[in-house]
Every structure is written in structure tokens, then in C-alpha cells.
Symmetry: C2
Subunit: 145 residues, 2 copies
DNA sequence: CTTATACTTTAGAATGATTATAAATTAATT
DNA sequence: AATTAATTTATAATCATTCTAAAGTATAAG
């Protein structure tokens, strides 16, 4: 069966990162890396998903620890938006986003959908670490009766 | 003398925005709009500058109120970065930024230094509100003895 | 100029996200 | 099975931001 295989894979991933495969971490892996699609989330959203999916609670501190651990190992990327909370992204490659303000939702943009033909040169003694586009979206229905 | 003129101008600006020209607001105007260059700041930085420049204290709540007021009137723009605090920008036009991570500093990029040749189409029923680039910088001296 | 009114400032409390702490639990090692 | 080290947990602490309600100030009216 497939479930077993995913489970084992998450254990191996965790071990290869030098993180003990605890049941909390394995479950978080199932949420984050069990789907094929990119996944954008906040710590609180992840906590809610965890509670619903596994009908068990987990300490918020563990969610923070795990997410920070995955980020440090390069398995998650932190994303910056309005507001005071962080978003995380299972797509750790450099890429661009739509941000739908109405739904407070991030959407990946494929790199080939964007062409950046010229970039400014970095200031002296600095080099470019990343180049990311944020395209904010609003609903079309502006002036309605 | 020039000082007087600037002062009067700030009063007029405030009046034209429907904001009473209180001494706190006029001083904040002097800080924000007294220089020609674009200015990026956090609420706390503005508070520190105010204390040093005028040797007087102001309530943080007033700084928040004023900054939010200017933002609503389109005289300031909020910028989004890592972390949990907001930056504000006296340049309210759509424009791109360098972010120097070492110095935690934003630098404007002139629009003509960037050419975006193709953009993705907005999802159904959504339209693009803004397109902004964030170019993160790091120091060159990485592998030093 | 004096009073009345609405707006503004202020200190401090409340909130919400995040981080720190220290004890209890669990995984890995012997 | 016992020992050690890592992890989880509840809870407290911190920090940016927002809220509140009382005191102060700018403007409008008389
Ligand atoms: Mn804000
Ligand atoms: Mn963080
Ligand atoms: Zn993404
Ligand atoms: Zn700027």
C-alpha cells in the first residue's frame, strides 16, 4: 500500500536531515510533503490542519521548532507579506508569487511566465542573493451597482 | 529664511489632507518630507529620530496614528519584509527595492533600471494591482581567510 | 476674546505572533 | 534494561501593533 511507503520516506528524509523521526515530525511531513502541489501556509494554519487531519493536538512550540528546522535545512522557505505573520512555502526554489489580497492567499508563478530582461547592478561589495516578484491581485468587481 | 517656508508648507499639506496641523504632525512632516531623498523607516526608527532631532518625546501611539493617516492619504506606502515589523516609504509610486540584509536597509531601484518583458496573466476575475521586485543583497566577502 | 465642539495626544492596557524556559517525555545508544 | 541526548510540552516572556479612555489642543461660534 502507498501509505506505508510515504511514511517510510518521511522517516528517511528526517533521518537524512539529522532530525529524529518523532511522530509529530512525521505527521507534519505528511501534511507538507505528502501532496505534489506547492503549499503555502502560516504556522497557525498548519496547526489547524494538523488538529483536523490527525484528530490530535500538538504544541504550537513544536510546530515552530519543526518549521524552523525545515527552513534551516532548506526544506521550507519563509515568505514575506503584509501583516505581522510569516508564511512558509514548500517550494524552496527562487520563484515569484501572486498575492491575492482578498483571499490572503499566495499563488506560485512559473518562472517561464516572467521575463526579466534587465536588472540593476548590485551596489559595491554586495551581490544579489535573490530576485523575487510579488504581484498583488485585486478583484475585478470594483465599481458595481 | 527657508525653515519658515518649509514649516508653512507642512501646515498647508496637513490642512489639505484634512489633518489638523498639530506640532507633533508638523515635526513628523519635517522628518519625513523635509529631505529630497526617499526615506524608508520603521515606526521605532521614526520615534528615535524624533526624540533626537527635537529633544522631545512623543507617544508611540501618535506615531502610529500619524503614519497610518499619511498612508491612508497616500503620502506613505507600507513595505513588506522579513520579520514582524512594517517599513514605510516616502516614495509612494510603484517601484522596486534592494534589501540589504546585513544592514537591514531598503534602497530604491529606479524603474528604468528594470525591464519586465513579460508578466503572467492574472487569474480569472482578478486584476493586477501592483508588481514589485525585491532584490536581496548579501556582502561579497563570503569565503574569507 | 471666550466658550463650545470636535479632533488629537497620551499612557497604559490588550492583543497576537513569536521566542524562551524548564520540566516531562521519548528516541537512540550502551 | 538502563543511560544519555534530543524533543515535546505548557507556560511565561517579548515585541510590534492596536485599543481605550482620559486629558489636552485646534478650530468654530458667539
Ligand atoms: Mn499596519
Ligand atoms: Mn521567523
Ligand atoms: Zn511559492
Ligand atoms: Zn522605496
Amino acid at each position: 500500500m502507498l501509505k506505508m511507503k510515504d511514511f517510510e520516506e518521511h522517516i528517511n528524509t528526517l533521518r537524512s536531515l539529522g532530525l529524529r523521526p518523532t511522530k509529530q515530525r512525521i505527521k507534519i511531513c505528511e501534511i507538507l510533503f505528502g501532496k505534489k502541489a506547492t503549499f503555502h501556509f502560516t504556522v497557525n494554519q498548519l496547526n489547524e490542519i494538523y488538529k483536523k487531519k490527525f484528530k490530535s493536538k500538538i504544541s504550537l512550540a513544536t510546530i515552530y521548532n519543526t518549521v524552523h528546522g525545515f527552513k534551516k535545512k532548506g526544506y521550507l522557505k519563509e515568505i514575506t507579506l503584509d501583516g505581522n505573520k510569516s508564511y512558509y512555502d514548500t517550494n524552496t526554489l527562487n520563484h515569484h508569487h501572486f498575492y491575492d489580497e482578498g483571499e490572503d492567499k499566495l499563488i506560485d508563478i512559473e518562472n517561464f511566465d516572467v521575463s526579466l530582461n534587465s536588472l540593476p547592478k548590485a551596489p559595491l561589495n554586495k551581490s544579489i542573493k535573490s530576485v523575487e516578484l510579488m504581484i498583488r491581485l485585486e478583484n475585478n468587481n470594483h465599481n458595481q451597482k
